[in-house]
């Protein structure tokens, strides 16, 4: 089934600047693999080497964080909207003052 995925700005260079893509997947793990197949390199940005979603990136199925569902085993159904949301800080540089 086709699942709509919102791609955050920092990852859009992997999706040819598309903010929204569609992939076929029945759970979140399959969704990440499907994204990697279409957009090689994106999985490394989302996941640690052990395959777990990085701790400064969250994946939401509709409005729900998968960490509070079944993590990457969370199943997906037609019409679900997935959002990948990274922590953002803003501002100048790490040594500077304010954004």
């Amino acid at each position: 089934m086709s699942i709509k995925v919102r791609i955050p700005t920092p990852l859009q260079k992997h999706t040819n600047n598309q903010a929204e893509v569609s992939v076929d997947a029945s759970d979140v793990k399959g969704l990440i693999e499907a994204l990697e197949k279409d957009f090689p390199g994106i999985k490394d940005r989302i996941c640690e080497k052990d395959g777990k979603v990085r701790r400064f990136i969250n994946i939401y199925v509709n409005e729900e964080d998968i960490r509070f569902l079944q993590r990457d085993a969370t199943s997906l159904k037609d019409g679900d909207e997935i959002s990948i949301i990274p922590a953002i800080a803003g501002g100048q540089d790490i040594a500077g003052g304010a954004s």
Partner: protein, 256 residues
């Protein structure tokens, strides 16, 4: 506290709001708000908080105003380039509202000084520019039980959430750890549209006003996500994380 004639005139357009009135204005005038960072987020937040009559506003920033700040940091101006941002912002706020007290902290906020600084305030606005400071401000506010308005911006994207320690999810419930240095580009590398800072900083000011007035629903337990390109506002749920390293059941962060 009786409002003077000048105060009644100055605040008349909000005094007539049913959620504010004389009582609400007195609460605002007695409130103490700390803004960390007088930059893109802090500037609009400071302008609206000062205009609304927040009685005591603290500003923390260690930087000086640079020309490249003025595209978004609207509390500063061309003739304050080179001035410490806290002094430049104070000058602007005093010109808008000379009745309120502005306390400046021309320093970098650190684990050694943050607890002492935030203790004198009712609520904290985080407008800092980097992950270590954001996590420090979150942890300090949770440990001191200080309400916190968090805002973040990147290119055309903005995020905001309000944290009531003990009651609602904290920033580490949302993101347990900062990204390692170098993995996420900074605004200097990535760029930022000035109005994104304006919109998110203004939302932070709105959260502070609602908190002080005790009106409306705060952005607690949910993250507001703004995108400037499609003008979309969305929200996702942010539950309290029982495994949160700072506000969970067995916290690993117990001091700064």
């Amino acid at each position: 506290m009786n409002l003077t004639d000048a105060q009644i005139e100055r605040y008349s357009r909000q005094l007539i709001l049913p959620n504010i009135g004389g009582k609400g204005q007195e609460r605002l005038l007695k409130a103490r708000v700390l803004v960390v960072g007088a930059g893109g987020l802090g500037s609009p937040a400071l302008l609206y908080l000062a205009s609304a009559g927040i009685g005591k506003i603290g500003i923390v920033d260690s930087d000086k105003v640079e020309l490249n700040n003025l595209q978004r940091q609207i509390a500063h101006s061309t003739n304050t380039v080179g001035m410490p941002k806290v002094d430049s912002a104070k000058k602007t706020l005093n010109a808008i509202n000379p009745e309120i007290e502005i306390i400046t902290y021309n320093l970098r906020i650190t684990s050694a000084n943050i607890t002492d600084i935030i203790k004198d305030y009712d609520i904290v606005v985080d407008g800092s520019d980097n992950f270590p400071t954001r996590f420090l401000v979150n942890d300090a506010c949770v440990l001191a039980k200080k309400p916190l308005s968090h805002g973040g911006i990147f290119r055309f994207d903005g995020q905001a959430i309000t944290i009531l320690p003990g009651e609602s999810a904290c920033y580490r419930c949302l993101f347990p750890e900062p990204p390692p240095p170098g993995l996420v580009p900074s605004c200097q590398e990535a760029g930022i549209l000035g109005v994104v800072a304006g919109i998110i900083g203004t939302i932070q000011a709105n959260e502070v006003l609602k908190y002080i007035l005790g009106t409306g629903d705060l952005l607690t337990g949910r993250l507001l996500i703004f995108n400037a390109l499609d003008s979309s506002f969305r929200q996702v749920k942010v539950p309290k994380d029982p495994n949160c390293p700072v506000c969970g059941k067995n916290p690993s962060v117990t001091k700064l």
